[in-house]
Symmetry: C2
Subunit: 350 residues, 2 copies
């Protein structure tokens, strides 16, 4: 009975007599009627589900994804959408490798930190739009949600300088990744603007895991044994900062007593260490939410994406100041703390 339109409170509801409506509602209630999702989506071409694709290295998940996920799921739930997650083994060269997922099981897809090749390719199908978060670079037809990592790195290093640090190491992310490069750039710019020299041996290639951070720091300590230690280490993310702290602890160096250490992302991990980590806060939860909002806008109002259009939305970052960073031992502050606040919004977190 087509009168079941009543159940969907469609615009036609008004056209039904109150009596028929009652009758239908009553029957539905009695039968404990539940519309079948598969049938409905076959007819409506909407399955009320968004996908999330990510590669989870080592079978594990990490804090970064976790926080974006929670933003995505919260937003999806708010819009009555289910979230299905696809754990990829690796990113292929081309976004088109994911078009197989556009077979009606999802209405749209958000890509978490994809690293496709740089060659342009055709945009995703209009009926299943894509949105990315922290894409390594822009792809046609895929709006990218990112944050101003360069400014974050700049603000953090600026803060270290203002506290009096001069020998500032940067433990980088994976070579070649856009995010890692932006951090390096911000680091160098902060040094330059403070008229401090950039010295190559303070730039140490690390990675985004605690293992890589630990290894990099260990290696450096071995290699530069006897040479001056860094007063502060700015790490590419929170995980590598934890690894760095471990490596320092192994040789008896305490944080922040001997060396200050800062991270990036301000994930749960930053608050799970003792001392808690100073970090550059990216609004990961909000970025996840934003991704879903944009995606749903595209789902509800499909646009024919031109190959030429590259679009991104950039979130600001803030500093989360905590105990892992202090003035260098025995030094006078070269500037009042407040002076570190001018480069970006600065928030002391608890």
């Amino acid at each position: 009975m087509s009168a079941s339109a009543v159940l969907n409170r469609s615009r036609t509801t008004a056209h039904f007599s109150a009596e028929t409506r009652e009758r239908i509602l009553a029957a539905a209630a009695e039968l404990r009627y539940r519309p079948n999702l598969a049938a409905r989506s076959l007819a409506k071409r909407r399955i009320q589900t968004i996908g999330v694709a990510a590669v989870m290295e080592g079978g594990g998940l990490n804090h970064y994804f976790l926080e974006i996920f929670s933003g995505i799921m919260a937003a999806a739930a708010r819009h009555d959408q289910s979230t299905t997650v696809f754990a990829l083994h690796a990113w292929k060269e081309d976004p088109a490798s994911l078009y197989d997922l556009c077979d009606g099981r999802i209405d749209g897809l958000v890509l978490l930190a994809p690293t496709f090749g740089r060659r342009g390719t055709r945009p995703p199908p209009a009926h299943t739009p894509f949105v990315s978060v922290h894409a390594n670079h822009l792809s046609p037809g895929i709006v990218n949600i990112e944050s101003d990592e360069e400014a974050g790195a700049f603000a953090l290093v600026n803060h270290l300088i203002a506290l009096g640090h001069r020998r500032i190491m940067h433990l980088t992310g994976p070579a070649g990744l856009t995010g890692a490069e932006r951090r390096i750039h911000g680091y160098k710019r902060a040094l330059a603007e403070a008229r401090l020299p950039f010295e190559r041996h303070w730039l140490v290639t690390g990675g985004y895991t605690s293992e890589l951070g630990r290894e990099a720091m260990r290696t450096w300590l071995r290699q530069f044994q006897g040479r001056p230690l860094p007063q502060a280490v700015f790490c590419a993310n929170d995980a590598s900062a934890l690894g760095c702290i471990e490596a320092l602890a192994e040789v008896g160096l305490r944080v922040p007593g001997d060396v200050s250490v800062a991270g990036f992302d301000d994930t749960l991990a930053a608050r799970s260490v003792v001392p808690q980590l100073t970090s550059v806060r990216q609004p990961l939860h909000e970025m996840g939410t934003c991704a879903v909002d944009r995606l749903l806008a595209l789902i509800n109002h499909p646009v024919v994406a031109s190959d030429a259009v590259l679009e991104s939305v950039v979130f600001p970052v803030t500093l989360a100041l905590r105990a892992s960073v202090d003035a260098p031992p025995g030094s006078d502050r070269l500037a009042p703390a407040s002076q570190s606040d001018d480069a970006a919004d600065c928030v002391a977190h608890t």
Copy 2:
């Protein structure tokens, strides 16, 4: 054309001439044909998707869920199933509150640490079976995956005793939860078997978050100021152990120098602290995998669940020994370390 059966390599494939098969395959390839998932699942009554329901307090996710999730997703992917997650606000009184999800959007559901009321209820629909992990108690028709938490707590406290600790505090989980009670039970049993007295003030009600752990420890330190400190604290999970360490640090107590601290679960958090946390390892990843395997078995071979059948599978736990636990300061070991190994499998993790 019904010949599309070829595409599914159904048992009937053999009945088709090689030529027709070629022709069909060629056409499909040329058209870049993708079967529509919604249509297929409408016809097959299988949507190749399993659901995961969990309540994520405070909009956040935690390490515990994270590890189980990764096990679930890995197993689901292995079976070519998608995973859709449902973030609940809270567990209702009755599992039946989730039967709304059985509308064709998932083939089965795994519940993460559900806390339903104790009244029995009708089992889930046979076409959409449920499986739980760490359910607060068994429900009819829902097989529960759990672990031997009592033995884990016992083994850990036993280990502390063997190292020479006598004033052993237990920072508990949330009052009333089965898992928390099992830990308490294991703690008490270890004391009893070592003929050590159980003293009420060493049992401190905490919770499963670092905030609750920190608060509980802070409060205790204030309340029992001047009284003997614990030599070791056994915390209900890793998060509360981190909170405990923070509270100790606030009053200048170092781990493990002044106080040994141990956690439970052995999540990523346990390896993200300096010093790394001794913890009771639950095989969360494997438990997630097991949940999916059981669920798929039920999906593929539906059974009419009797209200009377309560079923569970119990995983063993092990100890992960790390730096946060040491012998009490200035004490001789009362027993060789190896003696702590007899109560459960003991593994030194790196």
